[in-house]
């Protein structure tokens, strides 16, 4: 029983990370109908830049803040100079474009930092704490706290503020939004900024628990996207729930079947889901139809 709970606890932590990635995907998708396949690279950059800045003797907090700002900026620049440039491209070109950007970022990261893995000091001590026999690393609690805060803030932004209503207006009807004086381009830029910032935060909080290296973005990106599809593309809440589910399934699979197959399990779930119900568990039929 303790073993099962332990796996569930581990799954919740990794599921939380997938949730942030998934919500990042959906934020951008809702506004600009682009799936940013470089989403995972935002996480990688968040962790790596922080490690690098700490290496330059900057204090932890400042390094993390600078890293978040930097990745946010990269997100904005990416929207402004690349995505906005090819506005009218067909989906296949957009896919290739974001794949290209993610490959480019990954390559540059490996060029700067090499292929070694880096670890970050945990925010609080290394000592795991025991809750009813389940051992939880203190960093895991930080991760879950960060995830919940980010999800709450995003929900608040989207549902309760005028800015959120503007973003929603662009996702429903960009033309009408423009007529009402909202700039869809600016909103799209904002979406990229949000997803950059949240991605970087996620990357920083996971770096102490699992080491970070130039290529962790790919796996995190695909898993986040799997969660986004599982939950129904376009539905942030559904995606977050699906992400936690995916994390738990993966952790149980790793525990009871084989740890080497851990990543394969997530992908099998994805393909299975696409097979049975591509619109996702909580998705509407119309979302993502026509393959976008």
């Amino acid at each position: 029983m303790t073993e099962l709970l332990q796996y569930v606890a581990n799954g919740l932590v990794s599921g939380g990370i997938y949730a942030i990635v998934a919500v990042g995907f959906i934020t951008i998708y809702n506004v600009s109908k682009v799936i940013n396949l470089a989403q995972g690279e935002f996480l990688m950059l968040g962790g790596m830049v922080t490690v690098a800045l700490i290496g330059m003797n900057l204090p932890y907090g400042l390094a993390a803040l600078l890293a978040i700002l930097m990745v946010t900026l990269i997100g904005v620049l990416m929207q402004k100079y690349v995505i906005a440039y090819v506005k009218k491209a067909n989906p296949i070109s957009l896919i290739i474009l974001t794949i290209g950007i993610s490959t480019l970022i990954r390559g540059i990261a490996s060029f700067i930092w090499g292929k070694d893995a880096f670890a970050l000091e945990p925010i609080t001590s290394n000592e795991p704490i025991s809750i009813g026999g389940v051992m939880i690393a203190q960093q895991s609690i930080w991760i879950l706290a960060a995830v919940l805060i980010i999800l709450f803030l995003l929900w608040y932004l989207m549902d309760k503020t005028i800015l959120g209503k503007k973003i929603n207006a662009c996702s429903v009807n960009p033309m009408a939004a423009r007529l009402m004086g909202i700039s869809p381009t600016k909103m799209s830029m904002l979406a990229f900024a949000i997803s950059g910032a949240t991605g970087a935060i996620a990357g920083i909080v996971i770096a102490p628990l699992s080491v970070t290296s130039y290529d962790i973005g790919v796996l995190l990106g695909i898993k986040g996207f799997s969660a986004a599809i599982l939950g129904g593309l376009g539905n942030p809440l559904g995606a977050a729930v699906a992400a936690f589910l995916l994390g738990i399934v993966e952790s149980l699979g790793a525990g009871y079947i084989s740890s080497g197959m851990k990543d394969a399990i997530a992908f099998l779930v994805l393909i299975g889901m696409l097979l049975i119900k591509p619109s996702g568990i909580f998705g509407e039929r119309s979302v993502g139809k026509g393959g976008l």
């Binding site: 799936i35 396949l37 690349v82 440039y85 090819v86 491209a89 989906p91 296949i92 070109s93 896919i95 290739i96 474009l97 794949i99 290209g100 950007i101 993610s102 490959t103 480019l104 970022i105 990954r106 390559g107 540059i108 490996s110 060029f111 700067i112 090499g114 292929k115 130039y214 790919v218 796996l219 695909i222 996207f225 799997s226 599809i229 084989s258 080497g260 197959m261 990543d263 394969a264 992908f267 099998l268 994805l270 393909i271 696409l274 097979l275 591509p278 993502g288 026509g290 393959g291 976008l292």
Partner: protein
């Protein structure tokens, strides 16, 4: 059928055959011949990928997985069960074809991002599967002493011609497909699936066929790769290679079979140049080629989404049209002058 192709692409095929045959003789160095062989192997994969991307308008990010399945199928059958490489190669076409069929059936209704991610996930599953299935595939350590092909003595030169022979077959097959009713159906799908469906084209079936054919091409190439290299490990069959294949198709032009071939050759040489460069420049650590491929993908989609070959073709046709117009103008002017002189 053959006549039609020769009518349409005779000149190109002639130039292709000439250069292909000439290459190993102007490059007698074994090293460059081996580069030529690798490029040939990649061309078989990218021509198949071009059928999926350019004609069926779909994207596959798991092409290296089919390549790997083909390589391991033939390697396991010949090394563990002592079958001749020829049988291994046939299996290397069939097994990835079956995988492509099953995967394609499962995801035939998917498009765009969904298909991209499904194939990406498939690629990962295959690479993990190869690594984990240690008793058969040797796991991360890989396989050694895979039998070499004994084709005309099995020298580097004979391997070169064997592989480029396969490239030629694949090329002609694909050009033929492009020129046939099937090809027109593909192009219709690429333009608009809805319009194609309303014309009575079974879109799902065509996409599935393209996917299966591309899987088989990749598998054959993988089998040849296994027998050429003699050793295998799971490393080359991942995302990096799939993106490399993607870059090759994009650079040459997604809608052109010739583009896939030319893109492959270009990227092949760029890769070689980067390897040579990293030997000279000591600071070039990490995957420099990753940066280059990423940049190429981004820049091409931004500034030349149609790719090199269609761009050059359009420029050429424009030039021709301009010339023709200039000649017509000239003739008209002359006529006017003559008419004036007559009156």
């Amino acid at each position: 059928m053959m006549k039609q192709i020769i009518d349409k692409w005779g000149k190109s095929i002639g130039i292709y055959l000439f250069l292909m045959i000439l290459f190993p003789f102007v490059m007698p160095d074994e090293y460059y011949r081996s580069v030529g062989i690798i490029i040939g192997l990649q061309a078989i994969v990218t021509i198949g990928l071009c059928l999926v991307m350019g004609l069926a308008g779909q994207i596959s990010l798991g092409q290296a997985a089919f390549w790997g399945i083909g390589a391991y199928t033939s390697a396991v059958l010949t090394t563990k069960y002592g079958l001749p490489p020829f049988i291994g190669l046939i299996a290397a076409a069939i097994v990835p074809g079956l995988f492509a069929f099953i995967l394609g059936r499962a995801i035939a209704g998917l498009q765009g991002y969904y298909l991209a991610m499904a194939t990406l996930a498939f690629g990962y599953i295959v690479q993990i599967g190869i690594t984990e299935w240690e008793p058969v595939t040797g796991g991360a350590n890989g396989m050694i002493s895979i039998p070499q092909m004994t084709f005309f003595g099995g020298s580097e030169l004979s391997m070169y011609f064997l592989i480029w022979g396969v490239v030629t077959c694949v090329l002609l097959f694909s050009l033929n497909l492009l020129n046939s009713r099937v090809g027109r159906a593909f192009r219709a799908i690429h333009k608009s699936e809805i319009a194609a469906t309303s014309m009575g084209i079974d879109v799902r079936k065509f996409k599935l066929n393209a996917f299966v054919v591309s899987g088989m091409f990749a598998g054959i190439s993988g089998g040849l790769y296994a027998h050429y290299m003699g050793i295998l490990d799971p490393q080359p069959f991942g995302l990096h290679e799939s993106i490399k294949f993607l870059t090759m198709v994009v650079i040459g032009g997604m809608t052109s079979i010739w583009g896939a071939l030319i893109g492959t050759i270009l990227i092949g040489f760029i890769s070689e140049a980067l390897v040579l460069l990293s030997e000279v420049v000591p600071g070039l650590q990490g995957d420099v080629d990753t940066i280059v491929f990423g940049a190429i993908l981004v820049l091409f989609i931004m500034f030349m989404p149609e790719g090199l070959v269609p761009r050059i073709r359009t420029a050429f046709e424009k030039g021709q049209a301009k010339k023709a117009k200039a000649m017509a103008d000239e003739a008209q002017r002359k006529q006017q002058v003559e008419r004036k002189a007559a009156t």
